[in-house]
């Protein structure tokens, strides 16, 4: 930067400006700007004139004059717009928008020129004076839109055009957009246009829905609603302002859905229930998306969904045919779950609220009467699954675990599962397989169970698998040392007592050969493992017998050890000797009612090895069959009511020590506790296994008090103390 010599201050011009002259100059300029002839005007000159006026303290009067100019101009515009009535109101819109555009441009220019005013007069008195540009808009709004007919007629025109478009005509969207922009700039869009638009739309959709809802099916109606929503969205996008979109959506939702919610949900011909039943995925999706606009609609949807699923499930539960067959029953439930899960995923956007509702619905009907049989049925279903030996059951197993989680009393399931599993593990077809190739499905299921319930729950089951594996190894050893002496293919599974279900002691009398084998094994085992006691349970085993017929045919029969003992009786007798049940019972040591059970498969029409008549059982000489190897052993069936009661009481017995153990554990750590607290804690601890009733817990507490593990407090009846 260079310094000049002795700069002088340029003092501001002190000439008194002729205000009239200045004002005339500005006034003419403003008029020229209004009539679009401003090309000759010099911005600098005008600005300077305004500047000088303000410097000379005439700012306020300048402002007032400008205001008058603008006001006059607006009134002229209004007169011009309202004068002609050609084209009806259609021309009005065009006139209004054109006038407005010219006016706003002019105001912009004037504002530029008068900029100095904004920094002085306006700044000093913000309450009384607004900036020139704002002033221009305010005047237009007050005098043209609100203060005259122009506003009303514009609005009427716009709404008419919108209605025409709704009826299917094409209209000039740009025209409407121009008006909307104008109102927006003037900040009276909401009041002048949006409000009336929403009201008229409300009426329109109310009428529309009324006429449609009776005439069309629910899915059709919903599709129309969807189209209308889209239409309105486009409308807003083309020529309305964005905030209107949500408001118009709410209106459609209100008029077309809320007012007809009952019909949509409950219509027996095509309502929500029907759509669910028929798996109408895309229709349900449409409905869900429309309902999503209003949260209370979604709530209603969830409610109806839950009750629909619950009643559907209940229809299975109450159907005698289905509940008779456990496999069918469980399969139906699984299919049901899968169906609705699919619907939730595809149509309801995997909304977690709906997944929860599905769960609750299942819990609702899985509870109650079915609960007691469900554990058993589930286990039976698993049993048939495992026996079917199909590969790739992963999905089904996941579904079964799902069902399992609905059971309140998982120890009932554990009981049944162990029973069925033991039958599967001990049946002879598994004996000739190695444990590894043994159905992977079994192992997979146990793993999943472990994931869900924890290690403790599955430890016994894994123990069972382990026993079978160890038995294999033990038998290999046994065979090596005792190979030749037996003359029979003999296999023993050694079961650890606590892992396996409890079995009644057996009175079965084995044939001589088998007895020898057992003795040999017992010796061998005692020598290997000192101090262990073996109890023989031959009624669990099965074996292969070869039946030699006089006509020369040989049949290999796969049957239970008990059946083998019975058949052995026929071995040592005359060809046509008839054995009565009592005789069979006393020879083999099997109780009479079990005799019947064991004999039924042998006498069945499929394998009539034995003939049954009024006197007893007799050997069937004429027996013929296509294949040489036959399986006779019975498959697991569901228990009779009597057996169920037995199982239930057994489980009750088993639960008693568990409850007591829980009580002692709690009391030991807490020392003293009130009885209702104690009950709560016990329930919490035992919940994963089963839900004990408070009465039962109280009984156990009493029993513990008697046995002096706990004592009651002398002063407070409900307080208990732990006795070390």
């Amino acid at each position: 930067m260079f310094k000049k010599s002795a700069p002088k201050i340029n003092a501001p011009k002190s000439e008194i400006i002729d205000t009239t002259e200045s004002w005339t100059l500005l006034f003419t300029a403003i008029q020229q700007i209004f009539s679009n002839e401003c090309s000759n005007l010099s911005y600098e000159e005008l600005y300077r004139t305004a500047y000088d006026l303000v410097q000379q303290r005439h700012g306020e009067s300048l402002y007032d004059n400008v205001l008058e100019c603008l006001k006059y101009r607006v009134n002229t515009i209004v007169k011009r717009i309202l004068k002609p009535l050609k084209d009806g109101d259609h021309g009005l819109l065009r006139d209004v928008t054109t006038e407005w555009e010219n006016y706003s441009l002019a105001v912009g220019m004037i504002s530029n020129v008068m900029m100095y005013l904004n920094r002085t007069v306006v700044l000093n008195n913000p309450d009384d004076y607004s900036p020139i540009s704002a002033l221009g808009f305010i005047l237009f709004r007050e005098n043209a839109i609100k203060g005259s007919e122009v506003g009303d007629r514009t609005r009427r025109q716009v709404l008419q055009l919108i209605q025409k478009e709704r009826d299917g005509e094409t209209v000039d969207k740009m025209l409407i957009k121009g008006s909307v922009n104008m109102l927006n700039k003037l900040s009276c869009y909401e009041q002048e246009l949006e409000g009336p638009f929403l009201t008229s739309s409300s009426n329109y959709y109310a009428n529309l829905s009324q006429s449609l809802v009776d005439a069309s099916s629910v899915p059709e109606y919903l599709r129309i609603v969807k189209t209308k929503l889209k239409e309105e969205a486009f409308r807003v996008q083309y020529y309305l302002l964005d905030p209107t979109k949500q408001k118009i959506e709410q209106i459609i939702s209100e008029e077309m859905i809320t007012n007809h919610l009952g019909t949509i949900m409950d219509s027996t011909s095509s309502g929500f229930g029907i759509m669910l039943r028929d798996d109408k995925i895309s229709d349900l999706k449409t409905q869900y998306n429309i309902f999503a606009i209003n949260p209370s609609h979604i709530k209603e949807l969830i409610k109806k969904f839950r009750s629909h699923v619950a009643s559907h499930g209940l229809s299975f539960v109450n159907d005698e045919q289905i509940t008779k067959d456990p496999t069918l029953f469980i399969k139906n439930l699984l299919d049901l779950k899968r169906k609705y899960k699919h619907i939730v995923k595809e149509s309801f956007d995997a909304n977690p609220l709906l997944s929860t509702a599905l769960d609750e619905a299942f819990r609702q009907f899985a509870d109650g009467t079915v609960q007691s049989r469900m554990a058993e049925y589930l286990s039976l279903y698993l049993d048939s699954l495992m026996r079917s030996n199909e590969q790739d059951q992963d999905q089904t197993l996941d579904d079964v675990i799902d069902m399992f989680m609905y059971l309140k009393d998982s120890d009932v399931f554990e009981n049944y599962y162990k029973t069925h599993l033991s039958k599967r593990l001990l049946s002879s077809r598994n004996m000739h397989q190695t444990v590894e190739s043994q159905s992977c499905t079994e192992k997979v299921f146990v793993t999943k169970l472990k994931l869900e319930c924890g290690y403790q729950f599955t430890s016994k089951i894994e123990g069972m698998f382990n026993d079978v594996r160890l038995s294999r190894i033990a038998m290999d050893q046994f065979e090596k040392t005792n190979k030749s002496t037996l003359g029979l293919d003999f296999y023993v599974n050694v079961l650890t007592h606590s892992f396996w279900p409890t079995y009644d002691p057996t009175t079965l009398i084995l044939p001589h050969q088998l007895k020898q084998c057992c003795r040999a094994f017992q010796e061998h085992y005692d020598s290997v493992h000192n101090g262990r006691r073996i109890t023989w349970q031959p009624n669990l085993g099965d074996g292969l017998v070869i039946a030699n017929y006089p006509n020369g045919s040989k049949y290999e029969l796969l049957c239970t050890t008990s059946q083998i003992c019975i058949l052995d009786c026929f071995n040592a007798c005359e060809a046509n000797q008839v054995w009565s049940e009592e005789e069979l019972s006393s020879t083999t040591g099997i109780p009479i009612r079990d005799i019947q059970r064991q004999m039924t498969p042998l006498c069945s029409s499929r394998h009539r090895v034995i003939i049954k008549d009024e006197n007893g059982y007799c050997w069937n000489e004429e027996f013929k069959h296509a294949s040489t190897r036959l399986r006779i052993a019975a498959i697991s069936t569901k228990e009779t009511t009597q057996q169920v009661h037995q199982t239930e009481s057994k489980i009750e017995m088993d639960r008693k020590p568990i409850i007591e153990a829980a009580i002692v554990k709690i009391m030991k750590s807490r020392k003293t506790m009130y009885d209702n607290q104690l009950i709560e804690s016990v329930v919490t601890i035992l919940r994963p296994t089963f839900v004990p009733s408070p009465i039962e817990i109280k009984k156990r507490v009493e029993s513990l008090v008697e046995r002096e593990f706990l004592e009651r407090d002398e002063k407070e009846q409900s307080l208990f103390r732990y006795l070390a």
């Binding site: 310094k3 340029n10 401003c38 911005y43 600005y47 912009g108």
Partner: protein, 113 residues
């Protein structure tokens, strides 16, 4: 003599020519000029390609130069301006500098920057 900025950066920009009282011409980009209210209004009321210089009969070249520097500083730093160095370097005790500052105040008021 004229003060110009780096030509390459603003080659696609429009320029405004300002003429001081003592005949010096200052060319600044439209972008920088827009930081002055007066110049903004001026540009919007003119044809974009017009190149006639605007005359400032009451603003000295020194003052005008400072103003141009200021506008460019503002333009480059986007309104974040703590220290305007040329002014900071002025010395309040020097009479010349004081006069300069006074003139600068008046011009700034006029030009709205």
């Amino acid at each position: 003599m004229s003060t110009t900025t780096d030509g390459e950066e603003f080659s696609s920009e429009q320029f405004l020519t300002m003429c001081s009282a003592d005949g010096f011409e200052f060319v600044i980009s439209h972008k920088a000029a827009s930081y002055s209210g007066y110049l903004r209004g001026l540009m919007s009321s003119r044809h974009p390609n017009e190149t006639k210089p605007t005359k400032f009969d009451d603003i000295d070249s020194q003052v005008l130069e400072l103003i141009c520097q200021y506008l460019y500083e503002k333009c480059c730093r986007e309104m974040y301006l703590d220290n305007f160095n040329p002014i900071m370097n002025l010395d309040p005790t020097n009479e010349d500098d004081r006069n300069l500052v006074l003139e600068l105040l008046l011009a700034a008021n006029y030009l709205d920057c």
